[in-house]
């Protein structure tokens, strides 16, 4: 009976190991696409939220601590999206194209959020408007990408 119980434990451990090995393996095209779309969606969330925040701040509707939390969150979200995208190499040509379209967008997004931080700290209304326009444009392009590859 004892031997049987140990055998059961051994089989369970083996199955868990096999499961982990499967999950940790290289992504196939479908998984990569799914991850990339998630990263794009995260980027979309961040830039459009940041745009809203920028407009509201320009109109004097936000308190400073709150705005800084929003901007930090947007920056963090874009950074994680970039990490998520870079975690695995694209397995085939189609996914390579996807990455080549998405990565620069996310890079631009990171820059734009940083610029928004500067503009809002400086109280530069014209600057804020310019960044918001960029953020909106990025949002549209990210949205297109998400729609195309979902």
């Amino acid at each position: 009976m004892k031997a049987g119980r140990w055998a059961g434990v051994g089989v369970a451990l083996l199955l868990i190991w096999a499961g982990l090995a499967y999950c940790a393996g290289p992504a196939d095209a479908h998984e990569y696409r799914r991850t990339a779309v998630q990263a794009a969606q995260a980027g979309l969330n961040a830039v459009r939220t940041a745009a809203l925040a920028g407009v509201s701040d320009r109109d004097g509707k936000l308190i400073d601590p709150y705005l800084s939390v929003l901007i930090d969150e947007s920056a963090g979200a874009v950074a994680s999206a970039q990490n998520q995208l870079a975690a695995q190499p694209p397995p085939d040509d189609a996914t390579r194209t996807l990455r080549d379209q998405l990565a620069p967008l996310l890079l631009d997004a990171a820059g734009a959020v940083g610029d928004l931080d500067h503009a809002t700290s400086a109280g530069d209304d014209a600057g804020i408007d310019a960044v918001v326009a960029r953020l909106r444009q990025l949002g549209d392009r990210l949205n297109d990408l998400v729609d195309r590859y979902r």
Binding site: T49, A53, K61, L62, P65, S68, V69, R150
Partner: protein, 409 residues
Amino acid sequence: MKKFLAVTLGILTAIGGFVDIGDLVAASQSGARFGMSLAWVMLVGVVGICAYAEMAGRVVAITNRPVFDLVRERLGPRMGLLNLVASFLVTLMTLGAELGGVALAVELATSVHRLLWVPVAGVVLWVALWRVKFETLERVFGLAGLLLVVFVVALFQMHAPWPDLWHQALSPMPDQGENWNTYFYFGISLFASALTPYEVFFFSSGGVEEKWGPKDLPVMRANVFIGFPLGGLLALGLMAVAAVVYHPLDVQLNSLAQVALPVAATLGKLGLAAAILAFFATTFGAAMETGLSSAYVVAQYFGWPWGKLLGPRRAARFHVVLMVSILIGMAVLFTTINPIQLTEYMLVFSAVVLPLTYLPILVVANDRQYLGDHVNGRFANAVGMVFLVVVVVAAVAAIPLMIVTGAGG
């Protein structure tokens, strides 16, 4: 006149106390993702909690025993222990999520990182419950929770497209580009947010301490049938704001800051301050309730003296469980998990545990030995049975849907 004021105060406290971090997250995320097409789930959830809270309240008023007390009697010590473990763990998770919500709310007002607020929130919560000054706190936080009405005000101020919202609400299906799995996943989370187990434990335990009798039934029913639906309306307000602002932009919500942004954009700094204060009040109030509920269920299973009105020397075991629960809640947050994500998991696990909470209530509410003539009538039983089926379906589907949709990703 005094009685009228007391009753009104009770109802207002119930309205403000209805919403917690689960509702804040589930309602807003559903609104952003699906517009108003999940509004019906909120409605169903409110009907469910009203039906079961009334049953639990009736049981308390007639037997003077809290509902969880009777679980062990009716189901036996083994099933009771299973019920205890499941309920305790889920309530603990909820406590962690609420404390996380408190930390997030304070972060919004101060920009100091939320992890630094977690110990503060935990200690303040514990001191409040240690020194046993509950009733005043409950009133204050319940009424402050009413500030969530700022979301409804914002809806009017932003000239929400009411016909569109109404149309969305009447078409209960996912829109283009979304699938039924995700739709039902969000639906189940929303459902669970209205029916979280701790609400019933807390409600019935409070009734025992206030020594409800049969003559308190009308007031109890007023609190339930007026307070909870109006609370649900506040949650719908959150959903609608997200539906108007974020849904057309295809933006998904995953932070409390995002939830408040439309209010700020429409009503300015005052509106924003009100929203942040409302977040703080609802989550801290809920943290008090979940903290107490986790201790209630353990004490009520073992038969220990319990109560928010009993000092630590009179109920050492109860207060120690309370302390340990708060510590565990804080520990979970110190793993740096995002409180929003913790809330999402908490809702799924609440959904799984719901049948364990609600089946015993239905059983006890039908037991003539306990309730005499006050047992469930045919209508109450019909509603109760329908909900039991819904609750079981939700419980079974919750985890598979979470896995298939990648937690709504």
